[in-house]
Amino acid sequence: MIRIQTAGLVLAMGAALTSQMAEARPVSYPSGWTVMQMNNGDMSSLHVHYSPTFKDSIGLYSERNWANDWHFTGLQYNRLVQRWNTPNSQANLYFKAGAGQADPFGDGADVDLAGFVGVAADWETRRWFVSYEGRAYDLGFTQDARQAARVGVAPYIGDYGDLHTWLMLQVENQPEADTPTTVTPLVRFFYDVQLLEIGYTPETEELMLNWIVRF
């Protein structure tokens, strides 16, 4: 148990920096692997998952929450509940669930069974992007929750294989945090199989840095 927790912590700490809410699309193509690293100052996380179909993915999720001082490590399952395809847009509704262990101070001394559930939704054209994600945790020793919404616009329309750039604005709400509601402007770069997001939250003076790679 401690070994698993230590490995999770190492992975989470090794994760450069990125925000939870960037993983609005948690399912890849059939047989695809995805690595998501996130940090926004309040938390660092790592999610590595495999998609057997375009509707499902399962993998490891580890999160070190610096704001509320806990660490979760476990398995996460993601399900594409519904997709709406039109000639110029795509919309998705996802369900997420995780089960594993958590400890209140991230030191492995007092481990509890823990889990979470979440929903995510997005709508995207080649020019506009809107997403929402909400997640609730039961960590045994405490409960936690957060939600976030984003709007984005692409300043130019790139072809397949080009560098794609998005300008986004994220509003995040974490009731238990010192600053419950924050607004984060960010830039998303998407090239080949890599996605990089860089943002800054003025209220908390924290940097957001997210990185996703699919293969």
Partner: protein, 110 residues
């Protein structure tokens, strides 16, 4: 006279048979060397990641030589290997497996 008719008929067959054979061979070679491009128009393909999913899924098919995605027109252009075939049903299945909705299928043979 009868003997001459038989000889003429034999000569006709003798010359015609190789020609017919040559025509059959040429047609067969054309079919074998023909390369088909399948164009699938789909809904929902709006981003690079969508396109990547399509190229991964179609690229695993033995009959497929190359996949090109046209995001502007929502089209998947699949070039088949010489002489290979990919049925409409299979194309529809692959589009669905990629996560998108098929609108129409077109074919061109070069």
């Amino acid at each position: 006279m009868k003997l001459m008719s038989i000889a003429a008929l034999a000569a006709t067959f003798a010359f015609a048979a190789p020609n017919a054979l040559a025509e059959d061979t040429a047609a067969s070679e054309t079919a074998m060397s023909a390369q088909t491009m399948v164009t699938a128009k789909v809904n929902g393909m709006v981003c690079d990641f969508c396109a990547r999913a399509v190229t991964k899924v179609f690229g695993k098919e033995a009959a497929v030589e190359n996949v090109h995605v046209d995001l502007d027109n929502g089209e998947i252009h699949v070039t088949l290997k010489t002489g290979a075939e990919l049925s409409d049903d299979r194309v529809a299945e692959l589009v669905k497996k990629s996560g998108y909705d098929l609108v129409s299928i077109g074919r061109e043979t070069a």
